[in-house]
């Protein structure tokens, strides 16, 4: 169990994160989402032990790592966006070195090495020099160094950035495999990846946790806040606008001309689509199509991290 309590950090006078609280259960894969500058990297660096927070605590298996000595770092594995690799070493030598650096006895590292190479799908590359590897294999080597010492928490910062589609699919499997032996915290800009890989999502905005939960619960929460519709209509632009403004449930809308037709995106406070249709038909506007927008993680994320758009 990892518990972050009231975590705050300042760079000089600038606040990077403030009062962050969250819990992660054992063997859970949690996605960390946020815009650039939201405080993701700062939080990850604090969790990895690279930065000492201004205040707050981080409990890993009931030990506050902010107050603990350096030995706590052996409980954490960290892969930054650009994997830190000694490129003149072979994969096997490098992973072995990292295991020993994290305090594992040499014999234990040797015992564990084949399992880690298998888990990261690196067995056939074990004796290749890292400098000769593709970006995808370097990322996997980075993951191998982060897990060789059996950490309680593995932090992966943008693990799939720069990978091609087939490497992404393979990396997804590697990350899922990790959950069998540790807790995983993933930071990524690629929402579909978070959606595919993670059990739970934390959304960070302006240095604070803006939302957290499973993808389903976040989407449900967003749906409860209103309905988004897309319509294909024919009629005068002014009439369409007037009709939409006449419906009390309409929060915002925007119109796009598509030849003889107009595409209308409407945000409704409640699902009052009957009233909307009646208003448009009453104004002499023809309705060709009406579909409810699917509320996806991307929309949830944008809804939380960007200001509400006006009509």
């Amino acid at each position: 169990m990892i518990e972050v309590q009231n975590l705050t950090h300042y760079y000089g006078d600038r606040r990077a994160i403030e009062g962050i609280n969250f819990r992660i259960s054992r063997n859970e894969i949690v996605g960390f989402l946020g815009l650039n500058g939201a405080g993701k990297s700062t939080t990850l660096k604090i969790l990895a032990g690279l930065v000492v927070p201004s205040s707050g605590s981080i409990l890993i298996e009931n030990v506050d790592i902010v107050k603990a000595d350096e030995s706590f770092r052996s409980r954490i594995g960290y892969l930054p966006e650009e994997p830190p690799l000694y490129r003149e070493m072979t994969v096997r030598e490098f992973v072995r070195f990292c295991g020993q650096l994290k305090g594992m006895p040499a014999a234990t590292v040797e015992q564990r090495l084949p399992d880690v190479l298998r888990l990261c799908q690196l067995t056939h590359m074990a004796d290749r020099v890292i400098n000769e590897l593709s970006h995808g294999y370097r990322k996997r080597t980075g993951i191998a160094q982060a897990i060789i010492h059996k950490p309680a928490l593995v932090i992966l910062d943008e693990p799939i950035s720069g990978l091609d589609p087939s490497q992404i699919v393979e990396m997804r499997q590697v990350i899922r495999n990790l959950a069998a032996e540790c807790t995983v915290l993933i930071s990524s800009h690629i929402l579909s990846e978070i959606s595919e890989t993670c059990d739970r999502i934390l959304i960070l905005h302006n240095g604070k946790i803006a939302a957290e939960g499973t993808e389903e619960s976040l989407v449900r929460g967003a749906s409860a806040r209103g309905t988004r519709l897309t319509l294909l209509v024919r009629g005068e632009r002014a009439r369409v606008e007037q009709a939409l403004k006449g419906v009390a449930a309409v929060q915002s809308f925007d119109l796009h001309d598509e030849g003889a037709w107009m595409r209308v995106h409407v945000a409704l406070l409640n699902d009052e689509r009957e009233a909307l249709i009646a208003a448009l038909v009453g104004a002499g506007v023809g309705i060709r199509k009406l579909v409810e927008d699917e509320t996806e993680l991307e929309k949830v994320f944008l809804g939380i991290t960007t200001p509400t758009g006006a009509a």
Partner: protein, 241 residues
Amino acid sequence: MNGIWLIARRDFAAYVNTFWGWGILALALMIDGILFYTFGLGKTAKYSAEVIQQFFYLTGGVTLIAAIPVTMRLFAEERQTGTIVLLETSPLSERQLVIGKYLSGMMFVMAFALLTSYLPAFVFVNGKLGVEEILVGYLGILLMGSAGVSIGTWASAISRNQIFSAVLGAVGIAGFVVCWMLGQRVDAPFKAIVTYLAFFDRQFEPFQEGRLNTESVVYFLSVSFAFLLMATQSLCARRWR
């Protein structure tokens, strides 16, 4: 202790597995050999003691110069390539990291010193020289090398890139070397202090002459300790930024 040794071994392996390490070693040995031939042996007949004093003087200088490219990469290169994260997220303390890096530099200095031993051996075989004079001279090389490596380690610990690290290390080492010049310009009590700090003309001289001077041993160890401590503190400070 295992962690310190692990870092020292990896860094030393990084020297010997690359052209960089062998290049520095070969260049340093070549310069040392040429200087010895030109100034140590010279064209006139000399006593063995004079030749060996000149050898240690020149080898001491080459050791200090070699310490600059050897140490400039210790932390600065790790920072440039991002591998510093491996060290900073390891359970090793900053003190252990600094000692590990320092030891790798010292292993290089020792390898260099060992490879120069054919020159005093040549004097020993062909001249009249005591083994203890050679051993004390080499002790001086290692102690002054230790001070040079410590200054370079500190410079690398506070630098973002290797060029800056090399320049800072060179300035630091040069400062201690040229102290004697400053000593000739300033008045008491600064004269005594500045002259005391001079590497060659004050502290290394006894070793050159085959005299084991405790004060000079303490001096070089103190300089090494001070710069390693500053390197440790600068690494610690990074976590609080």
